[in-house]
Assembly symmetry: C2
Amino acid sequence: MSRSSTPGPQPLVRVGDDFEDEYPGASALATECYANLVRAGDLLLGLHNRQTSDQYQLSPSGRGVLAVVDGAGQPLEPTVIAERLMVTTGSMTSLLDNLEKRGLVRRLPHPEDRRKLLVDITADARAIVDELLPSMHARERDVIGAALTAGEQRTLLRSLAKVQRAAADARSAPPPDGAGRRRGPGSEDGPPNPGGN
Amino acid sequence: MSRSSTPGPQPLVRVGDDFEDEYPGASALATECYANLVRAGDLLLGLHNRQTSDQYQLSPSGRGVLAVVDGAGQPLEPTVIAERLMVTTGSMTSLLDNLEKRGLVRRLPHPEDRRKLLVDITADARAIVDELLPSMHARERDVIGAALTAGEQRTLLRSLAKVQRAAADARSAPPPDGAGRRRGPGSEDGPPNPGGN
DNA sequence: TATTGTTATACTCTATAACTATA
DNA sequence: TATAGTTATAGAGTATAACAATA
């Protein structure tokens, strides 16, 4: 429906023709892969986040807490949840405060160690998760299924594995030295700037 | 160094074997594509963001402002920057306040309309951008180049275009109905929960 | 002494709404 | 009246550091 004449929103982030002249040593193709992986991930995550926020007024972190505890199938210590979500225990306290205020989690005393707690999710939270997760998985099926054949999906997955491995390796390496920059002629209207995000 | 025997960090997010039983109608393959696109994008963006923050104490949004103005090649009105970065003008004011305090942008009077401003970046900011962008593009080349052949990169790009188009289409559609959930036997240690993020 | 979680504090990003000054 | 930008206010997420209770 509609969108037959105008170009429509350019789906891919592209770099300008002069990119490899402006950035000696850079690879336009690699930069476009990088930028579009970021953008695609962002779009997909945004779909889930928007639904979670619109329908349940849950932040991504709040949803994360519920999903972690629900996925574990049993109450968890705050420290464990914090580790899985990669936040500090201080941040976890305020996330749990929020969720508890809304009746979505309960703090239970730990039966063996009185310093610890066990965090459980309530029936209300379970109801949310039981509605939200199937809907998210349906969207995953619909969006990816509309875009790619099963074969393309398998190929994509293999590439993503390699990219993630390379990214993980790069995490423990120093930032690379760039080979400088040759500013083009003060471009009137900038290229779809690849550093913009 | 080290890590030769242990499996090492699993690069791919995987769903459990019972996934399609727990979520009728869902596609394990599509969910894995979706989750790993999000994760790959996050890892790649994180590399850039960490460098920007570590080396220049710049937030992603702050870098965005500099990159937009630098990319335009000329001073821009705050409203224009706000639109490109998808933030409100109120948020733009505080971003510009921060950057101006640090001597990275200047607010100039607009020559034609005294309600408006023109935001320019300083020599300091230009120095940062001229060092940062080449380094980022070098990383893009290194990480993507280490993971994928040129042919794989082109294939990936084609798939990303299709995924982004499908995601953009899904943005203007209502969230799909999920087909419910069949909770498995209270799994002791949860699966690498796909709803966790 | 070490660990768990909380508190206190602070900072950034973000948004909305009221406001000022222009147009 | 309408627009551009600021101010005021608010709330979320995040972090660090000091702290109390418990081990």
